[in-house]
């Protein structure tokens, strides 16, 4: 099963974004529904923080790529169980890729990503040149 997502343009989305609790039908809702993995994006003056729920994967199974202000997360969810009969299947499976636009351009080389208990936290420092700066006022 191939799970892909289209580019989310953050500036065009209403903020704050309140989503209904879709329950386990999350992935089967079709067009317009959030796909895998579910993300949260936070920012302060120094950093952009992305939290993604990617249960079941280890850090060498996830690929992250960052350019300017676009983050792509990809990987493959493999089913470890073999020689079993499937009674029920609700979880995401297969290759996934998700691309999001970040609120600010970031310094990709200074990015840090930590995976713990299935939650991936990516800390991205905001690029110096786009940080707000105070302009001293001269004159009277």
């Amino acid at each position: 099963m191939y799970l892909t997502n289209f580019l989310h343009n953050i500036q065009k989305m209403p903020l704050p974004l309140f989503l209904p609790d879709l329950g386990s039908d999350f992935l089967e809702s079709g067009y317009g529904a959030p796909s895998f993995p579910a993300l949260q994006i936070y920012a302060n003056t120094e950093h952009v923080l992305v939290r993604a729920e990617i249960p079941g994967l280890t850090r060498d199974e996830i690929s992250l790529s960052i350019t300017d202000d676009v983050l792509t997360i990809s990987g493959e969810l493999k089913s470890a169980m073999a020689d079993v009969k499937i009674i029920r299947r609700e979880r995401a499976a297969g290759m996934f890729q998700k691309t999001v636009e970040l609120p600010s351009p970031v310094d990709a080389d200074k990015a840090e990503a930590v995976l713990k208990n299935g939650i991936l936290e990516i800390t991205l420092p905001i690029r110096e040149s786009v940080k707000p700066r105070e302009i001293p006022v001269t004159g009277e």
Partner: protein, 134 residues
């Protein structure tokens, strides 16, 4: 050999049982699961990101298996939420087991935010009943 675990929807409408009394009424979300079986066991694998072995509770009462995972509240001091596809929540799901499951031998583990429960299937035993005259 047909062994089933049935979803008891009446029980799942509980969103806040005794186990879920937290400081601020935390939401409880029903985690997605995959259920498999082979000759010996039934396997349940479910997604509970943020939950580790210390915060996962698996219990069985009569024939109802309850899985409850508590997630820690992340420390996001100073950050503003810009975009969200999920909310902070705990995880809970219940399953009704039929008599074929050996409840005393259930094993549960959790790794990378995925919990795995192994439910051994009881081999049906034939119990002979002695017949008295009378």
């Amino acid at each position: 050999m047909e062994t089933t675990i049935t979803q008891n929807t009446a029980m799942e409408n509980q969103t806040s049982g005794e186990a879920v009394k937290t400081e601020k009424q935390a939401r409880v979300y029903r985690p997605s699961v995959d259920i498999f079986s082979d000759e010996k066991n039934i396997y349940i694998e479910g997604d509970a990101p943020g939950v580790d072995e210390a915060s996962l509770e698996v219990s069985i009462e009569k024939n109802v298996l309850t899985v409850f995972g508590k997630t820690p509240r992340p420390d996001l001091d100073g950050f503003t939420l810009k975009y969200s596809e999920y909310r902070y929540r705990n995880f809970k799901r219940q399953f009704e087991l039929n008599a074929d499951i050996d409840a005393n031998a259930i094993e549960a583990s959790i790794k990378n935010g995925v919990f795995k429960i192994k439910l051994p299937i009881k081999i049906p035993e034939v119990k002979k009943i002695t017949v008295h005259s009378g």
